[in-house]
C-alpha cells in the first residue's frame, strides 16, 4: 500500500500563489476534506479551504489530476492558495490530520520517475533533487530548531530506551528477577517523558522552536570590501567605507529581510596575522567571536588580489568582490560567488545561495517544523497508550510495543532506532545468564 503525501510544490518564498500538492490513493479524500467536493478531473474549482472544524484557512483554487495522467502517475490534487508561508503551513497541517504524510525530499519527482512519468535522461536529475532537498531539509532542521530542542529530544530518547530496557528485560528474561519496583519507576519515568513531550509539542505548535533569525558573518582580509557588501545588501550606508585598509574596527550588525526570512548580517574587522595595534587586535577577536555564533560565514576577497583562505569550522561561502574590475564575470558554484558590491552585480545570486545554505525559505522551515510537530504528536499518542496499557494490565508486551513506537517517532527527528542498542543496554544493566 502506498502512502499519500503532501507538500508545497511551488518554490519557497512569498509569491503571488502557492501550490500544495497531494499525491497517492487518499489524495481525493484529503483534498475533499480540505476543499469540499472536487470538480471532475483537470477542471479548476474555486473553493474555500477549510479545517475540519469549519474554520476557513484561505480561499483558493483546487484541481484534481486523475491517475495515471498526473505528475506522479498517482491521483494528484493540487490546491492553489495565497502565497503566504503561514497559510501553506496550515493547509499542510490539515492535510496531515486527514491522513496524508509530509512528502520526503524529492518524493513527488521520485514517484513520477518510478511510475514512468519522466524518462531515463531525467533519472540523474531526480537523484540530484533528492540529494539537494535532503541536504536542504537537514539544514532547515538544523538551523530552524534551537540546539536545546534536539538535545532535549535526544535525552528523551535516552530515557525511553532506559524504560524499554526494563520492560524488554522483564519480557525476555522473566527468570532474571526484574524488580516490580523497577516497573513502578518505569511508569513514572514514562509519565515524565509524556509530560515533557506534550510541553514540547505545545511550544512547537506555538512556533517557539523556530529560531528567531539567522546569523551570517562577513569576514575576510582588510579592504576586501566587506562593509561595501553589507551596505549593498542593506541598500543603505550603514558602515563607513573607505579605500583604507582597516576602516572597520568593530563588528556591526544589521537585520535584513531576505525572501521573508529575517537574517542578521554582521560586518567585522579585516583579518590579518599581524595587527597594528590593540584596537585592531580587539576587532579581530570580536570578528572571530562572531564567527563562533554564526550559521553561515561569508568570506570576502578582493578578486584582483591573491589572498589565502582561512578555514572556519562553519558552513562557508566564498565571495569574490570587486568583479567589475575584471574583463569578464566568472561563473558561480555552490560555494563560490562572484559579485561587485560597488556596482550591485551578482547580489541576487548571493542572496539565493545564502538562503539555500541556511536551509530556508520560510516554507522549508515551516515544513520541517510541521514534520516535527507530527512526530511529537504521534509520540504523545504512543506514550499515552503505553501508560494505559501499563495501568490496565493489558500485558507488558503492549507497553513495549507502544514505547518502541514512541521511540521511533522521536527517532525521525534526531536519531533512528537500532535494536542492538537496546540489547546492549539490557546486558550492561542486568546479569542475564540462562
Amino acid at each position: 500500500m502506498t502512502s499519500t503525501i503532501i507538500a508545497p510544490a511551488s518554490a519557497p518564498g512569498r509569491g503571488g500563489i502557492s501550490v500544495i500538492r497531494l499525491s497517492g490513493p487518499l489524495a481525493v479524500k484529503v483534498g475533499e476534506a480540505l476543499c469540499g467536493r472536487l470538480e471532475k478531473p483537470w477542471k479548476l474549482k474555486h473553493c474555500k479551504i477549510k479545517r475540519k472544524d469549519g474554520n476557513v484557512i484561505d480561499t483558493g483554487l483546487v484541481v484534481f489530476f486523475k491517475s495515471p495522467n498526473s505528475y506522479t502517475g498517482e491521483d494528484v490534487v493540487e490546491i492553489h492558495s495565497h502565497g503566504n508561508p503561514k497559510i501553506v503551513d496550515l493547509i499542510v497541517e490539515e492535510g496531515v490530520t486527514c491522513g496524508a504524510e509530509i512528502a520526503g525530499p524529492g518524493e513527488f519527482t521520485k514517484r513520477a520517475y518510478l511510475n514512468n512519468k519522466i524518462d531515463l535522461a531525467q533519472a540523474e536529475s531526480v537523484a540530484d533533487l533528492i540529494s539537494a532537498q535532503t541536504e536542504e531539509a537537514a539544514l532547515a532542521a538544523h538551523n530552524s530548531l534551537s540546539g536545546q530542542f534536539s538535545s532535549d529530544i535526544n535525552s528523551c530518547i535516552d530515557s525511553l530506551v532506559k524504560s524499554r530496557v526494563y520492560v524488554e528485560a522483564s519480557i525476555d528474561f522473566p527468570d532474571e528477577e526484574v524488580e516490580l519496583a523497577e516497573l513502578a519507576q518505569t511508569r513514572s519515568e514514562i509519565k515524565k517523558q509524556l509530560d515533557f513531550i506534550e510541553e514540547t509539542l505545545a511550544s512547537a505548535k506555538r512556533g517557539v522552536l523556530v529560531r528567531e533569525g539567522f546569523s551570517v558573518v562577513i569576514v575576510g582580509p582588510p579592504n576586501a570590501g566587506k562593509s561595501t557588501l553589507l551596505n549593498a545588501l542593506a541598500k543603505k550606508d550603514l558602515a563607513i567605507t573607505s579605500d583604507e585598509a582597516g576602516t572597520t574596527r568593530d563588528s556591526i550588525s544589521v537585520n535584513l529581510n531576505l525572501g521573508g526570512v529575517v537574517v542578521e548580517f554582521v560586518d567585522t574587522a579585516g583579518l590579518r596575522k599581524k595587527p597594528d595595534n590593540e584596537i585592531e587586535k580587539e576587532g579581530i577577536k570580536r570578528a572571530l567571536d562572531a564567527v563562533q555564533g554564526a550559521n553561515l560565514v561569508l568570506q570576502v576577497f578582493d578578486v584582483t588580489k591573491e589572498e589565502k583562505l582561512d578555514v572556519f569550522e562553519k558552513e562557508t561561502v566564498t565571495v569574490f568582490n570587486k568583479c567589475d574590475l575584471l574583463d569578464c564575470f566568472p561563473e558561480d558554484s555552490l560555494s563560490k560567488v562572484f559579485v561587485s558590491s560597488e556596482k550591485g552585480l551578482g547580489l541576487d545570486r548571493l542572496v539565493d545561495l545564502v538562503l539555500f545554505k541556511l536551509g530556508v525559505g520560510e516554507e522549508t522551515v515551516l515544513l520541517s517544523r510541521r514534520r516535527h510537530v507530527t512526530c511529537l504528536q504521534d509520540c504523545v499518542d504512543c506514550l499515552s497508550s503505553s501508560l494505559s496499557a501499563l495501568d490496565g494490565e493489558e500485558g507488558l508486551e503492549l507497553v513495549a510495543e507502544n514505547l518502541l513506537a514512541a521511540q521511533k517517532c522521536l527517532g525521525k527527528i534526531t536519531r533512528p532506532v537500532s535494536s542492538d542498542d537496546l540489547l546492549g543496554e539490557i546486558f550492561s544493566e542486568f546479569c542475564i545468564g540462562k
Binding site: M1, T2, S3, G104, P105, G106, E107, K110, Y113, L114, L120, A123, E124, V126, A127, D128, I130, S131, T134, E168, I171, D172, F173, P174, D175, E177, G392, E393, E394, G395, L396, E397, L398, A400, E401, S418, S419, D420, L422, L423, G424, I426, F427, C431, I432, G433, K434
Partner: protein
C-alpha cells in the same frame, strides 16, 4: 563410489533438521557424523525452548521438523514462561531427559526414507570451479554430493579450557575437526573465534535437596509440538533452585589468576547474555547472589546440571566454589565445567538461503554461523536443508520474512548484519512480535511446509482442524451477546469482576484485559490450547495487529525490489561515501534489507530505488 544429492556433515541439532528436511522433500540424503550414537546430543543444558527459543522450536515443528516432537518424547518438566503476560511473549520451556531426547531423534532419522547415515570424520572437501564436488572421509574414501551442508558446531578447531589447561576437543570426549577447519580457512570467508562454556555436572545424590527450593512444572502440561499427545511422555519431575553467596563470589575472585578468560588465554568472544559465573561476579560486582537452577539430566541420570554457574576455573576452584553454595556443601563434581573456543564464519558471507556466496552448493547452519542455542541451530538446519533441496531443481529458495517467522529474523540478522558474539534469539529482536507468537507458528508456516513437501498428514490435519475451529469460534464470539442482568452476565462478573451494562458481543467482552476465553459462555470443550491462544490474541491485539499489517504491506514493495549482485554502488549518484561503503560490504539483496542497514538513510534508499529503476530500463533497452 557413493553418490548423494545432499550431504549433511554433523549430527547436532542443525544437522539432523537439515538431513530430515532434505529427505522429507525427497532428496537422496546422507548424514555424516563422527559418532552415530551421539546424534541428537544436547551438549549443554538439558532443555529446549524458553523465550524466543520456543518460538523457533515451534516454527521448526510447524514445518514438520523434529526438535519439538523429540522434546515432548523426552520432556520431564514443562513451564510456560511469562504466563502472566500476553500470548505474544509467552514461551514454553521443557526440561528433557538427555538420553530419551537423543533416542527420539535417532528413531525419527532411522524411520526416515531417503536418508543414509554414515559414521566417519570428514577430512577434506573437494571444490571444482567454485562448486561443491565431494567430501573425503577417513581412509580417503570420497562421498559425492551435489550440495553440502556443514553443521560443525563447536568442532572446528575446538579448544577446551579448564583453568590454565587446554586440550583440543569439540565436546567432552570428542576430538575436534582440525583438518576440515584448516581447509575451510582457505576459503574466502571471514573467520573468527567464539567462546562458549558449560557448568560442572554434579552427582545427584551428593546434593542436599532439602536445602533447595522446588519449582514444580505447569499443569496441564504445555506440550511443545503441535502434534504431540500426552501418552508418550515420561513421568514429570520437579526442578530446584539455589543461589550463590558472598563466599562463592570471593572464591571466584581469588581464583581469577587461574582463569583462562581473565588471564587472556581465551581470545574468542563469549555471549554477553550467557556469561560464565566469573563474568557475572566481575561485571555485576554490586550483586552478592545469583540464582542457580539444579536441572536433572534425566529420569534415570545420576547427573545434575547446575544452570547458572558455567565456568572455566580449574577443577579445584570449581569444587570449592560449588561447595560454598547452599545445598551443594557435599556436592561431588562428576565432570568439571569448561570453556570451549571454536571457529565460526561471519554469516555476512552467506545468502539468505544459507548458501555461501563464494562456493556454489555449500551451505552453513548452526554454530558455524556464529549462533548459540539448540533452537537457533535447528532453525538454520531446517532452512539450509530445504534450500539445498530446492536448488537441486533450481527452484527459488525459501526465505521467510521478518514478519513471517523468528527464523526469518534470525537469518536476516545474521546475513545482513553479521555477528561478533554468539547470536541468540530474543523476542525484542523481532519487529512484529504481536503477529509472530508461539501459538500461531503453524498458522504462519504449515501451509508453506505442506507445499514444499515437508509436512506429514498428522500435522496437516491438526493444522486444518485448528484453523477451522478458530475461525468458527471467532465468528460465534462476534455474534453471541451477553445481556445485562442475565445469569451469564452475573457469572461473568463473579469470575472476572467485569460488569456488563449494555448488551455486548463476546468478542467485545474478550477485548477486556481481565477476561479470557474460558470465562465466556459456550466455550468449546476439548479445544486445543493453541487454538484458544490464537482466538484470544487475534481479538486482544486486533488494533496492534492491524497497525503492524499496514507497516508490513508498506515495506513489501521494498522487500520485493531485488538488488542484483552486479550493482556497483560507486555508480549510484548522490550516495555518501559512508553509505556506499556500507552497501558494498553488506551487499543486501533487496531494497528492504538495504534500508535496515544501520546508517542507510531514507534518502539513500530513494536514491538506490531510482538507480535500480534506471538500470532496469537501460537493460530493457
Amino acid at each position: 563410489m557413493d553418490k548423494y544429492q545432499i550431504i549433511v556433515v554433523g549430527g547436532g541439532h542443525a544437522g539432523v533438521e537439515a538431513a530430515s528436511a532434505a529427505a522429507r522433500m525427497g532428496a537422496q540424503t546422507c548424514l555424516v557424523t563422527h559418532s552415530i550414537e551421539k546424534i541428537g546430543e544436547m551438549s549443554c543444558n538439558p532443555a529446549i525452548g524458553g523465550i524466543g527459543k520456543s518460538h523457533l522450536a515451534k516454527e521448526v515443528d510447524a514445518l514438520g521438523g523434529l526438535m519439538a516432537r523429540a522434546a515432548d518424547e523426552a520432556g520431564i518438566h514443562y513451564r510456560v514462561l511469562n504466563s502472566t503476560k500476553g500470548q505474544a511473549v509467552r514461551a514454553t520451556r521443557v526440561q528433557t531427559d538427555r538420553d530419551l531426547y537423543r533416542k527420539a531423534i535417532q528413531k525419527f532419522l532411522n524411520d526416515q526414507p531417503n536418508l543414509t547415515i554414515v559414521e566417519a570424520s570428514v577430512e577434506d572437501i573437494v571444490i571444482k570451479n567454485r562448486k561443491i564436488c565431494s567430501i573425503v572421509i577417513d581412509q580417503g574414501q570420497q562421498l559425492y554430493g551435489e550440495k553440502l551442508i556443514l553443521t560443525t558446531g563447536t568442532f572446528l578447531g575446538g579448544i577446551m579450557h579448564t583453568g590454565l589447561k587446554q586440550k583440543p576437543g569439540g565436546r567432552v570426549g570428542d576430538p575436534p575437526s582440525i583438518r576440515l577447519a584448516k581447509k575451510l580457512r582457505e576459503l574466502p570467508l571471514s573467520v573468527g573465534r567464539l567462546k562458549t562454556g558449560t557448568p560442572p555436572r554434579l552427582l545427584k545424590n551428593s546434593i542436599d535437596w532439602s536445602q533447595l527450593s522446588p519449582q514444580p512444572g505447569d499443569l496441564p502440561t504445555p506440550l511443545l509440538s503441535y502434534i504431540s499427545s500426552n501418552t508418550t511422555r515420561p513421568p514429570q519431575i520437579e526442578c530446584f533452585m539455589t543461589r550463590t553467596n558472598k563466599t562463592t563470589h570471593q572464591i571466584i575472585r581469588d581464583s581469577l589468576t587461574e582463569s583462562p578468560m581473565y588471564t587472556g588465554i581465551i581470545e574468542g568472544v563469549g555471549p554477553r547474555y550467557c556469561p560464565s559465573i566469573e563474568d557475572k561476579v566481575i561485571r555485576f560486582s554490586e550483586r552478592d547472589s545469583h540464582q542457580i537452577f539444579a536441572e536433572p539430566e534425566g529420569i534415570t541420570s545420576e547427573l545434575i546440571y547446575p544452570n547458572g554457574i558455567s565456568t572455566s576455573l580449574p577443577h579445584a576452584a570449581q569444587e570449592e566454589m560449588v561447595r560454598s553454595i547452599k545445598g551443594f556443601e557435599e556436592a561431588e563434581i562428576v565432570r568439571p565445567g569448561y570453556a570451549i573456543e571454536y571457529d565460526y564464519f561471519n554469516p555476512t558471507g552467506l545468502y539468505h538461503s544459507l548458501e555461501t556466496r563464494c562456493i556454489e552448493g555449500l551451505y552453513f547452519a548452526g554454530q558455524i554461523n556464529g549462533t548459540t542455542g539448540y533452537e537457533e541451530a535447528a532453525a538454520q538446519g531446517l532452512i539450509a536443508g530445504i534450500n539445498a533441496t530446492l536448488s537441486l531443481e533450481k527452484k527459488e529458495p525459501l526465505t521467510l520474512g521478518r514478519h513471517e517467522a523468528y527464523m526469518g529474523v534470525l537469518i536476516d540478522d545474521l546475513v545482513s548484519l553479521g555477528t561478533k558474539e554468539p547470536y541468540r534469539m530474543f523476542t525484542s529482536r523481532a519487529e512484529y512480535r504481536l503477529i509472530m507468537r508461539e501459538d500461531n507458528a503453524d498458522m504462519r508456516l504449515t501451509k508453506k511446509g505442506k507445499q514444499l513437501g515437508l509436512v506429514g498428514d498428522r500435522l496437516w490435519q491438526a493444522y486444518e482442524e485448528k484453523r477451522e475451529t478458530a475461525q468458527q469460534e471467532l465468528l460465534r464470539l462476534s455474534r453471541q451477546k451477553i445481556i445485562p442482568e442475565t445469569k451469564e452476565a452475573e457469572l461473568l462478573e463473579k469470575e472476572t469482576g467485569e460488569k456488563i451494562n449494555s448488551p455486548k458481543s463476546l468478542k467485545e467482552i474478550l477485548k477486556r484485559p481481565k477476561v479470557s476465553y474460558t470465562d465466556l459462555p459456550g466455550q468449546l470443550h476439548g479445544i486445543h490450547r493453541s487454538a484458544i491462544d490464537e482466538i484470544e490474541a487475534s481479538i486482544k491485539y486486533a488494533g496492534y495487529i492491524e497497525r503492524q499489517r499496514v507497516d508490513i504491506e508498506r515495506l513489501q514493495k521494498n522487500e520485493n525490489t531485488i538488488i542484483p549482485d552486479t550493482v556497483i554502488y560507486e555508480n549510484v549518484v548522490g550516495l555518501s561515501n559512508e553509505v556506499k561503503q556500507k552497501l558494498t560490504e553488506a551487499r543486501p539483496q533487496s531494497l528492504a534489507r538495504a534500508s535496515r542497514l544501520p546508517g542507510v538513510t531514507p534518502a539513500a534508499v530513494s536514491l538506490l530505488m531510482v538507480y535500480l529503476k534506471k538500470e532496469r530500463k537501460r537493460k530493457a533497452g
